[in-house]
Assembly symmetry: C2
Homo-oligomer: 358 residues x 2
DNA sequence: TGATGGTGATTAAACGCTTTAGCAGATTGG
DNA sequence: CCAATCTGCTAAAGCGTTTAATCACCATCA
């Protein structure tokens, strides 16, 4: 633990209030000298090579030296010599606005660590230039591969430099053949959302869809249809409305919704549901007694804390991140074609109640 | 662009549907050979050393070789030889639940990149074991230093291994002398929140504080007092209430609030304000006409989309991240003592209106 | 003419580690 | 008793860079 620069034991005068100047990191060689062995020997015990023939005596001496000196291997030197880095890159387009990217990161990190990889993350906030720099940085660190993720499910184009590495698209996809991708299963999610309502006896169920085109818009609608039809209910186009997918949109849809005489409504997302709550309340209607509501996305801050707490369908961001890593590493059996679709689980809270028999 | 393993031009049969097997990264040596010069020469032109004497002719040949081969420097080799890595570690305790950590990351990354550093991020989700592993990983990558961040402002203890590196606490602090820290200026924030109300003519202003102890609880209250007193209004203890700092808490505080006969209320955070909105609406009261409301935190999903949009005070997470990096790198002049306090700007929306003269 | 200086490059060592081949000495086998 | 085998360890090469030292060549100058 002795600094090579300052063996006097007194704090450097140059940095009086600062933390003590860090010693140069301890190297293998220093451990070797301290233990009176060669660096090769130290390396062998550090890496617990079973095959290596080292006496228990020596092993012990080395381990003590390691402990005494506080040795930490230099991962960069290891990567250099092993020829392959232990990094996986993750570029995200919006880490700072929703927790969605955070959940992807969380999942990716857990899975990556499980396989001995560290995550190199870059946040681009939609800035193309930053993105290019970020990918360049990852390429220079010779990452094992790159996860290219977006905060909402959408088509994307593959940046040129991305192609210099192995990559997987996460929560987005590209037409480009050979571009592997993981996305949420919107259709199944839409089906699940509708089934929650169906299960409680609702038959006339409205769907407030988004106005803006997106895979979610089509998928969630289709899921709604499928669930209805599986119950023998004919799809009624009049029951699907459209609004801008945020609180204001949901609020604004209230009037149109009430004209439909439904007992339940499935909203494109939680934010719309939040707005709708306000609209419904203004009309003196109570949830879930007068009308049942389900959302989509499971945005905790909103869904779990609305009054009553909102039943919704969860976007599997954590799983997307984890599955992205597995796909990158080739651990899942390869998809026959198209993106891998991840299941969207439903989370039931209190915005749906069994329909009282008429 | 020619793979050493497969020069036939046909895709490897081993990976029919997969992406083409990546070629081994191009090295300096290969560029040197292609350009007919030594590796030293290539290195010199890559790094644009002004001092180096290289003919334009050679420079051009080298650059062409670089372009043709698609050369990218190996950052790990660079770090190795330069003796110091270009990494800054950032450990966060909750990236997956709120966007707060995301904003810290965003700020830290921008500032780090500005100085040529890449961010090595680890999410611990409050798991001590993960945290230890994360710090170990960063230490092995010989990071320049570590930013240890928490998602809400609180005291923390410094994990032992953290001390092996330079570090800065971000959004948290420790008694430990020499532990540098950056935190939000809660007192100023509380003052600002109150001033928004004062500025619009309000005099009887309630404060719904949190029940759980935290620097924010004390600081925001003190700011409230200071702002009041600066206006010559004597602090009335009866006007400060306490509730659990979430939606339910805010909702539950409605009744107590209405007993106080105030024209405005300042909530400990946006989530409480959200609950309070519900409570007020149920009482048939309108915001901001019957009562003005300000929150704290500026949680976008909530504050910007409540009806009416909530005026609030922003927690400067982005700035915390950036300032953390600057402090780590020793770019800001050192604080005389205690954590550096970052300004909390107010963001005015529509939940406050000038008080009509009585 | 020989010293001096400038130009444009190269050589070689070093960074911290892994790993293969090999060495010396002890033990065993025939 | 010598060869073969085993045991415990080390020497040295190599990973992809950077950089100080050096070199060959040519022009200039006294």
């Amino acid at each position: 633990m002795i600094s090579q620069e300052n063996t006097s034991g007194t704090p450097s005068a140059a940095a009086p209030l600062q933390q003590a100047r860090r010693a140069q990191p301890v190297t293998l060689r220093q451990v070797a000298e301290a233990a009176g062995v060669s660096t090769a020997t130290v390396s062998l015990v550090v890496n617990k090579k079973k095959a290596a023939r080292i006496s228990d005596e020596t092993r012990k001496r080395v381990r003590e030296a390691i402990r005494d000196l506080g040795y930490r291997p230099n991962a960069m030197a290891q990567n250099l010599v092993s020829g392959s880095s232990r990094f996986i890159g993750l570029v995200a387009d919006a880490i700072a606005t929703t927790p969605f990217a955070g959940q992807i990161i969380h999942g990716a990190q857990d899975e990556a660590w499980k396989h001995g990889y560290a995550l190199l993350i870059a946040n681009t906030e939609g800035n193309r230039e930053l993105e290019t720099d970020a990918i360049a940085m990852m390429l220079e660190y010779k990452v094992r591969g790159i996860l290219y993720s977006t905060w909402f499910h959408r088509p994307t184009d593959v940046p040129d430099s991305l192609r210099e590495s192995d990559f997987v698209l996460v929560n987005c996809f590209a037409e480009e053949p050979g571009a592997r991708a993981v996305v949420p299963d919107e259709v199944q999610g839409g089906r699940s959302a509708t089934e929650v309502l169906l299960k409680h006896g609702h038959r006339r169920i409205a769907f407030i869809n988004a106005t803006i085109p997106a895979p979610a818009k089509d998928g969630r609608l289709q899921g709604y249809r499928e669930a209805l039809e599986a119950e023998g209910i004919t799809f009624d186009e009049d029951l699907v409305m459209e609004a801008y997918p945020d609180q204001e949109g949901g609020y604004g849809a209230t009037e149109a919704l009430l004209k439909r005489d439904v007992t339940a409504v499935y909203c494109y997302n939680d934010r719309m549901a939040m707005g709708l709550y306000d609209g419904l309340r203004e009309q003196g209607l109570s949830i879930p007694d007068d009308i049942a509501v389900v959302g989509f996305d499971n945005q905790e801050v909103i869904a779990a804390h609305l009054r009553p707490p909102l039943s919704t369908v969860s976007l599997p961001h954590y799983e997307l991140g984890a599955a992205g890593v597995r796909m990158l590493l080739g651990l899942d059996e390869p998809q026959s074609s198209g993106p891998e679709k991840i299941y969207c689980p439903t989370v039931e809270r209190n915005s749906v109640r069994a329909l009282a028999p008429a």
